[in-house]
């Protein structure tokens, strides 16, 4: 039964998207909104049904369905095939449920935008592509979803195409993710060459039973990591995500918080057997993850644009997930992915509502003191913020971050045969990251909601928008209980769900580990209160924030490096190609022109010969005679 439902699951959003695109505006804004929400809603319902079927089945059961043979060629075969197992189960639940909530919110948020048909068309297409990515069992079929998601993010970032800056940001996003896609493609090519087929099962089996050489495995893992890094905007490729905030807020919420950026995490989690065999790549993932979470934290600390703060915070949180993947605890990564989807979506939607009501003002220093004008939004934002910071016991963020921290603490990297290093330094830096997270998010909360009143808020948030906010509040606060650290009543529902085979309980975990994880966010909150919360500190210039901002500016400088590098690269490329074009045009056209002028000069010369005078011709004949005779005589 499930085999029939899975393709239907993907078909619903796809059909909704086609309907919206083909109707091209004949349907009103409300009609488009309902069709979109219906499409994604159907997908959500189906995914719940399918998950119930799967969970009722055997523990390690999975559902395979092959739709049709895609490419069957000598030496390689690929099919359009879907697979539902516990990892993709979690993902489709996250994608469809969060997606549904965001679509409902967007129906209200975008209703007075003329291009709403195009917006919802792209959004539903995005959900369809994401579902293909998550459900694909053939890595090449996953690549369809992978690029489809990139295309939709390009179309949605550049949604308000009137402003060239938006479309430039969209193109930049697509180019950087495209670089990653090429790397991923090379990885797939390498795997396809060695194993002949890209079915996940076949690939993992070939890797585990040693059919692929060690260097091949690490090379493939490296390529796939590069692809994941670009798609999830990690350190070398993180410049495009802050600019991607140019898109409408629901887009930022759905694509750049909940789903697309986590695609990389999902891919590595899906291929964790492959990565387990490539120890150096695992270490690299962990290091890059840590680096990203620090860079993200610092950058978010100095942003003045509300949405950019959230963008950098996403980069930082995904950094946590990569750190977890690097340390081998991919279950923790997925758990954090789920909780992150909830509270980050909540933050983005709340921010969107705030911005809309503050007449599209995004600078936090000009927003100020909105808690009286928008009490509901304040509660939502604070809930999201606390979950993001990971305030102990009461928020989901705490549990997922705790799981990662314990995983990182217990890992031991076997870089080479005899030299292995424990995860303690990484653990310390992760803890610092948690502190920074709490700091920047509560800085934003205090400045926006508790500072002196800035702009006057207008209107009310429509009902359509408040419902999703409510749901997300509940999820981000209570979503974490399903996975408790051991010291507390050890409840491991989530990891049991994911991978029943390997229990994650570390009995000998020191108590102070959990305490550290709990105290650090509170410390961050306290420092933020001291710097930006107390009315006195706000007095002497909110922008400097008691000197802390200035120092962090320097720290944040070098997070712009890749940003400047990419714009420079683009400019260089454009200038180079223009110069080459002129050179090419110069070189080859000169060749053609030069050839032409020879012809003209030659013709002119000959023309003078035929001047019609007989004696001149006679002379030439005599000359010819002389030459002929000379040749005849001499040779």
């Amino acid at each position: 039964m499930a085999t029939f439902l899975i393709p239907l699951l993907v078909l619903c959003p796809l059909a909704a998207s086609l309907i919206i695109f083909i109707s091209t505006g004949r349907m009103g804004a409300r009609g488009v909104g309902t069709v979109a929400c219906a499409g994604v809603g159907m997908a959500a319902v189906l995914s719940i049904i399918v998950s119930v079927i799967l969970l009722s089945g055997p523990a390690t059961g999975e559902v395979q369905v092959t739709l049709w043979p895609w490419m069957h060629v000598a030496g390689f075969s690929a099919d359009i095939a879907f697979m539902l197992d516990r990892i993709s189960l979690v993902m489709i639940l996250v994608v469809t449920i969060v997606g549904l909530l965001i679509h409902v919110y967007a129906a209200g948020y975008m209703q007075d935008d003329p291009g709403i048909a195009r917006f919802f068309g792209c959004m539903t297409l995005f959900v369809a592509a994401m579902l293909v990515l998550v459900l694909a069992s053939d890595l090449l079929c996953l690549f369809i979803g992978w690029e489809g998601v990139g295309l939709c993010s390009y179309l949605l970032i550049g949604f308000w195409y009137d402003d060239p800056a938006n479309t430039a940001a969209a193109r930049k996003a697509f180019y950087m993710t495209r670089v990653g896609d090429v790397a991923l493609l090379c990885g797939l090519l390498l795997l396809a060459t060695t194993t002949g087929s890209l079915r996940t099962g076949a690939v993992l089996a070939a890797v585990t039973n040693g059919q692929v050489s060690a260097s091949g495995v690490s090379m493939a893992a490296f390529f796939i990591l590069a692809g994941a890094l670009a798609k999830s905007a990690q350190v070398p490729f993180q410049a495009w995500l802050p600019d991607a905030m140019a898109g409408p807020t629901p887009t930022s919420a759905l694509i750049h918080a909940a789903t697309m950026v986590t695609a990389g995490v999902y891919l590595i989690a899906r291929l964790h057997d492959l990565f387990a065999m490539a120890a150096p790549v695992m270490a690299l993932t962990a290091v890059l993850g840590t680096l990203t979470l620090l860079v993200g934290g610092c950058a978010a600390l100095v942003q003045s644009d509300l949405k950019r703060i959230l963008a950098w915070s996403t980069i930082s949180q995904v950094g946590y997930m990569f750190l977890a993947l690097g340390c081998g605890v991919w279950q923790a990564a997925l758990f954090h992915l789920m909780t992150h989807a909830f509270f980050k979506a909540l933050l983005f939607l709340a921010a969107g509502a705030v911005i809309m009501r503050a007449r599209h003002e995004q600078d936090i220093f000009r927003l100020g003191g909105l808690r009286h004008a928008m009490p509901g939004l304040t509660v939502a934002f604070v809930a999201g913020a606390s979950a993001l910071a990971g305030l102990p016991l009461v928020t989901a963020g705490f549990y997922s971050k705790e799981m990662i921290l314990s995983g990182v603490w217990h890992v031991r990297f076997g870089l080479t045969r005899d030299w292995s290093v424990t995860g303690h330094p990484l653990w310390a830096m992760a803890l610092l990251g948690a502190f920074l997270t709490a700091l920047y998010i509560f800085r934003c909360v205090f400045i926006v909601f508790f500072g002196k009143p800035g702009t006057v808020a207008a209107g009310r948030t429509s009902r359509l928008m408040t419902i999703p906010l409510g749901c997300l509040c509940i999820l981000s606060l209570f979503g974490g209980v399903i996975e408790m650290p051991d010291t507390l009543p050890s409840l491991h529902l989530f990891s049991a769900l994911l991978d029943p085979a390997t229990p994650l309980s570390h009995a000998d975990e020191p108590v102070w580990l959990v305490l550290a994880g709990a105290i650090v966010p509170l410390a961050g909150l306290a420092l933020a209160w001291m710097l930006w919360g107390r009315p006195s500190s706000v007095m002497h210039g909110a922008r400097t924030g008691g000197g802390l901002d200035a120092r962090h500016d320097r720290l944040a400088i070098w997070q712009h490096i890749p940003d400047r590098a990419s714009t420079a690269a683009g400019g260089l490329m454009r200038a180079a190609s223009v110069r080459v074009f002129t050179i090419r045009a110069g070189f080859l056209d000169m060749l053609a022109r030069w050839g032409g002028s020879i012809g003209d000069r030659g013709a002119l010369l000959l023309d003078r010969l035929h001047n019609g005078r007989m004696r001149w011709y006679a002379a030439w004949i005599a000359g010819g005679l002389c030459v002929a005779l000379a040749v005849a005589v001499l040779s």
Partner: protein
């Protein structure tokens, strides 16, 4: 080379040179007639008496007379010969002269290896020429008649509008 042969050859060459160097057309034509007559003498010495006679009768007799007749009609006066003088300045004839000299040298150089024994040429009488003319070459004679007809028609046609003159 026998004295008479040398004399005839010398007159032919001198006549030819005089033809191309005269300013007045009539003098040139007369020198040409002298050249042709000397040439017929050479032909006789070659044993081609029939050809010599033809040369005298047709070439010197008919064609040269035609020449004289036309030149008289053109009644080239003093300005013409003055212009000829101006046309004959060294700048004009130096180039072609050199070219002609080169051609002459090359021809002479080519001719040298063919010097066979100076056998007494057995004269070829009109009888032999007549036999071969209307034997093997009867078709060619027909063609020549066509040629003559064409020449006649052209000369007549071009000359016809002399007084109309459009």
């Amino acid at each position: 080379m026998h004295a008479l042969a040398l004399l005839a050859a010398g007159i032919t060459v001198m006549g030819a040179i005089m033809v191309i160097t005269r300013r007045v057309a009539v003098h040139a034509v007369l020198y040409l007639v002298v050249t042709l007559l000397a040439l017929s003498v050479v032909l006789v010495m070659l044993g081609a008496s029939f050809a010599a006679m033809l040369e005298v009768i047709i070439y010197a007799g008919a064609i040269m007379v035609l020449f004289i007749f036309v030149i008289m009609m053109l009644n080239l006066g003093q300005p013409d010969s003055q212009r000829e003088k101006e046309w004959l300045r060294p700048r004009a004839w130096l180039g072609p002269g050199v070219l002609a000299a080169i051609v002459c040298m090359e021809l002479l150089y080519c001719a040298s290896p063919l010097s066979g024994p100076a056998r007494l040429p057995v004269p070829i009488t009109a009888h032999d020429v007549g036999l071969s003319l209307f034997g093997r070459y009867v078709l060619m004679v027909e063609l020549v008649s066509f040629l003559l007809l064409a020449g006649l028609v052209t000369a007549f046609h071009i000359g016809r509008h002399r007084e109309g003159g459009h």
